[in-house]
């Protein structure tokens, strides 16, 4: 895969500068760190939200920083969580006195570093707690959900977190509703082709002609099953069945449906999937409040898609429908 880059070692740094330049009406870089933040930090009179994780999944996480979403995101190198030092700096930058909630995807590296940062920040007198996103049903059995990976539910969770924070919820209530949002999210993806690491140009896996893999991770970690390439319709049904039974989603439920491209899968394909998703959920009497379609969480130029269903209740719906204004998510 050919890529348009400059110095391979400097990618994340340049990426953040370019991002801050392009969206200078909304965000800025916290100088000297791979941190993106709302322009108006530190936030006064409300709890702040810090997210973050490894790079290489753009627009995750930087584009979910903005009004009604995260206050800051701490960025690691490609496919590596940010260090505790960077996360600590993000916490310090946003805390306006009401504390900081860390909302991030559940990977061993992220857990280690966010935990360390939380401990250090508490030592320095900040109030800090965390919620881990673990929506990926393919990465562990239901009775061990705490081991599952966080994937494409991230923008939805951050939407809820940001709206509830903006609404002025206190620290404990905010943590509770973010946790509820996580508990109500399920995702599953399918990959059709490999992604390459920009620094080395190496593919992180290979997938033979005519094959696809369900449940492959955002970094090309092996999935749950490799099968012959299915049609768009059958792919959609396979994913939905696994998601629906897991929560479970029931007749009468109202959901947000998010269809994510991992990179090189086209909008054309995604709309075929959207069509099937709508008719299939209609058949199950599951109502769709909103369909979000696009690249929300990528694995470089990997081909494939993931679907996230997010079950609403009155409270979550209220926060989902509140306005937000981040480069990658607007309501």
């Amino acid at each position: 895969m050919k890529k348009l880059i400059n110095n391979p070692k400097d990618i994340v740094n340049e990426l953040i500068d370019g991002y801050a330049a392009a969206h200078s009406d909304i965000v800025k870089r916290v100088e000297g760190y791979t941190i993106t933040a709302r322009k108006d930090i530190p936030v006064k009179d409300r709890v702040a939200i810090v997210t973050g994780g490894g790079s290489g999944h753009e627009p995750l996480f930087e584009e979910y920083v903005g009004k009604g979403m995260a206050d800051a995101a701490a960025h690691g190198q490609i496919f590596a969580s940010p260090s505790s030092a960077i996360i600590l700096e993000a916490i310090k930058a946003v805390d306006g006195g009401k504390g900081v909630l860390l909302v991030y995807c559940n990977y061993a590296g992220d857990v280690l570093n966010f935990d360390m940062a939380q401990e250090m920040a508490i030592d320095e007198g900040h109030r800090v707690d965390q919620v881990r996103i673990n929506d990926d049903v393919s990465s562990g059995p239901k009775d061990r959900r705490e081991g599952r990976r966080g994937t494409t539910a991230a923008p939805i969770i951050l939407k809820i977190a940001g709206a509830a924070a903006e609404a002025g919820l206190d620290f404990d209530s905010l943590k509770k509703i973010i946790q509820k949002a996580v508990d109500n999210s399920r995702s599953l993806g399918v990959s059709l082709s490999a992604c390459t690491l920009p620094e080395t140009g190496l593919a992180t896996f290979s997938l033979e002609d005519g094959k696809m893999e369900f449940g492959m991770g955002l970094h090309g970690e092996a999935g749950i099953k490799k099968v012959d390439l299915l049609s768009a319709d059958d792919t959609t049904i396979t994913i939905l069945d696994l998601i629906i039974q897991d929560l479970p989603f029931n007749s009468g439920d109202e959901v947000v449906a998010l269809i994510n491209s991992y990179g090189s899968t086209t909008k054309m394909e995604m709309y075929l999937i959207a069509g099937k998703l709508h008719s299939y959920l209609r058949g199950k009497q599951i109502k769709i409040l909103s369909t979000e379609i696009g690249e929300f969480c990528t694995s470089q130029e990997m081909a494939g898609i993931s679907i996230t269903l997010f079950k609403l209740d009155a409270e979550l719906k209220k926060y989902y429908e509140m306005p937000c204004f981040a480069p990658g998510f607007r309501k």
Partner: protein, 211 residues
Amino acid sequence: MKGNLDIKDFKRIMQSINNTIQDNRIVLCQLDSIIGDGDHGVTMAKGLEAAVEKLEIDNPASISGLLKTAGNAITMTIGGVSGPIFGTFFSEMGKAIDASKESVDLKDLAAMFRVSLEKIMRLGGAKPGDKTMVDALEPAVKDIEISSTSTVDIKTAMESMAKAAKKGAESTKDMISLKGKSSYSGERSLGYEDAGANTVYFILSAFYEAV
């Protein structure tokens, strides 16, 4: 060949480790690709580069300070699992000895590695058999502990320790990963060596070469 290692030796050792990791960047990425996410080599390379640079700038006066500085630089710079784990590897060795200690002998060294191993196991929760760097480090530490009760010199002990790490790394081939990104591969991780376990071997063999 020396009986004791002083701060100059440790500076050389850190440089040697850095060189070896830079040289094996791609190899380590390839190992991490197969069952993990493929970044381990570039991540470690960034960490050790940062460690060596930080040592240049800070120029710590003690062995303890040097190891802590190097370890912290890694932890602060690279994130991922490797950042805290391999950062801890160096910084805990530094914490295990007194700042006033001007040289370390084989017994000190064995004790330092032991402290490091145990902290890593506490921090990451990995046990031997989980297919992580612990599977290289744990037999290696046991090996140097045995050496330290004999009369061999540090160089010989380190050579043996590196070999034990190599064997440990190879043994991960027959393990199912239970930790880190490769754990999602489950049984499919069988048949491939763990990347971080190989990093332990590269670190220890670079250590041996620089002694």
